[in-house]
């Protein structure tokens, strides 16, 4: 039974990944109008790792891929990503957070910690503040969709806990995130 559950989850993740990739490919047409620096960076990364296509994984400099994304619950992604130095939620982030809010409303005994993170390209102290701001940005959105504030704690890690140890724009985009973690 456990196995079938795992398989089902895996299947969902794959499907979800496909949807995202599909959306992303469409959007990537737009990103070609971005400043040249983006495409140069893309070229570099592609050379380094031909499997990862940067255009499909980043929109502007916000990560839109599924690598590193876990689940808060079945079909509910646990994290959202941010642009450099930004705390504004993207359309995709808001969609993810609405899913999280819906699930949290259905599971009213669950409390969560929203962990805010920054990439390594900033000073340590500023990044602690930035992570806190990002986590609160996600928290505020969850509250807007009906999750009460006493169920959401906020914890900033600044740049202390990257998920990707690379030193390139794609790795940094995965690290600029807020992750909603079940506390109980």
């Amino acid at each position: 039974m456990n196995l079938s559950k795992i398989l089902k989850n895996a299947f969902l993740v794959v499907i979800f990944g496909l949807i995202i990739t599909a959306c992303a490919t469409k959007k990537s047409v737009k990103t070609t109008t971005e400043p040249t620096t983006t495409s140069t960076k893309a070229a570099e990364t592609q050379k380094a790792d031909p499997i990862e296509k940067l255009d499909a994984l980043m929109q502007g400099d916000v990560y839109i891929g599924s690598d590193t994304v876990g689940e808060l619950a079945s079909g509910v992604p646990d994290r959202v990503f941010f642009a450099t130095n930004e705390t504004i939620l993207t359309t995709a982030s808001r969609e993810t957070l609405r899913k999280q809010a819906a699930w949290l409303r259905q599971n009213s005994d669950v409390t969560v910690v929203v962990e805010g993170h920054a990439d390594e390209r900033g000073t340590r102290e500023y990044n602690l503040a930035l992570g806190e701001r990002r986590a609160n940005s996600a928290k505020d959105y969850l509250m807007t969709y009906g999750v009460s504030s006493d169920r959401i704690k906020v914890l900033s890690y600044g740049k202390e806990r990257p998920v990707d140890s690379g030193s390139n724009p794609l790795s940094w985009s995965k690290n600029r995130r807020s992750v909603t973690v079940k506390e109980n």
Partner: protein
Amino acid sequence: MRNKILLIFVLCFFLKPGISYSLVEIDITRGNLDPLPISVSPFFSDEISKEKIKKNLDIDNLGLEISEVIQNNLRKTGLFETLEKESFLQKPDIAHLKPRFEDWALIKSQVLITGKVTSIIINEKDYIKIEFKLWDVLGAKMVDGFSLTTVPNNWRRVGHKISDKVYERLTGESGYFDTRIIYVAEEGPKTQRIKKLAIMDQDGFNTKYLTLGNELVLTPRFNPTNQMVTYLSYFRNMPRVYLLNIETGKQEVVGDFPGMTFAPRFSPDGKKIIMSLAKDGNSEIWVRNLETNIQEKITDHPSIDTSPSYSPDGKYITFNSDRSGYQQIYVMRSDGSKVKRISFGKGIYGTPVWSPRGDLIAFTKLHKGKFFIGVMRTDGTGERLLTENFYQEAPSWSPNGRIIIFYRETKTNDKGEGFSAKLWSIDLTGYNERLVITETDASDPSWSSLLGN
């Protein structure tokens, strides 16, 4: 000033510093100069002292070790060329009594340091007495010297005190060798770093770890008397500012506000801690008075205000804020009034730290994907970038304001391997950049003031 005697655990001060001699003076404000040739003769010991010291410390030739401490300190300043001991023509004991100046001039030494280590007993306890003399080779005379008595274990510190005396005598500036550095020792993969508070002598010796690595710790900073440290700990997953007494090991939370407290630093009188409090997505600067436990909000702005640092007179605070859209450096009065932006160059600016002399602010700058450590005057003019790299930040001043220590992280390769974090130092002139050797990877250095006694 030069005649001021700093040393208190001197039992026997047998040499008075001479009146000002002019010849071997070094101008350390110049960047690239010819280092002054200097000889540090091994300090000598009589056989009985040697035996006692061997028994106490398990060191065969303590006099040689002390001369090495002094030699390394002086060499690393970039101001001195320390000559090879193999080239010395005169024996240490005779040189200490009265050098044959011709022998030292022959190997092109302009300055000579000699010394003597004796084991003595006071109240049935073993002590060591260390004498040192500073000689001007060209002027053929002694220019300074002193004698210190201390417990055997303290011998490295005596080496540092002698180095400070020599530096002070030859440059006219106070030294920085009898000091410590507190920092964060790092181990493990980049995604799961284990961090501990560590303290070491300025030259990398006597490393001690103050925490076990069970919780994340960041940004330790000394108080003015070097007995207390304030830092950020993630104890119980609640990032808060703590105060640690290094001598007793006792620690307490000082930043127990609802929200995260971080970026702590002491006020110059040691009575207050300034820090940031992040709450509901906004970071402001607060001050907590350690005597009254009253905390006061200093900034009031919806932007990120952090990394505060007091001026040495305590009247002003510099900090960074992104209120203009990006991180920039600001100065305000210590009550929070008269906030003024001072950084206007290209790029973003952070981590301002006021120099102990009061005239400069050191900072980190990010521009075109590169990180710089630089300095500017306190009104923002005269910006000078000292060093450029892939990633570096967190400058901290030596107590004499001549050197800046900071940490640098390396770029990883395509597989995310090759990460390291190390301490580096650079002179205010932008010359003499050096790796500071630590037992583990290291970050967030904070330089103590001179240790006193």
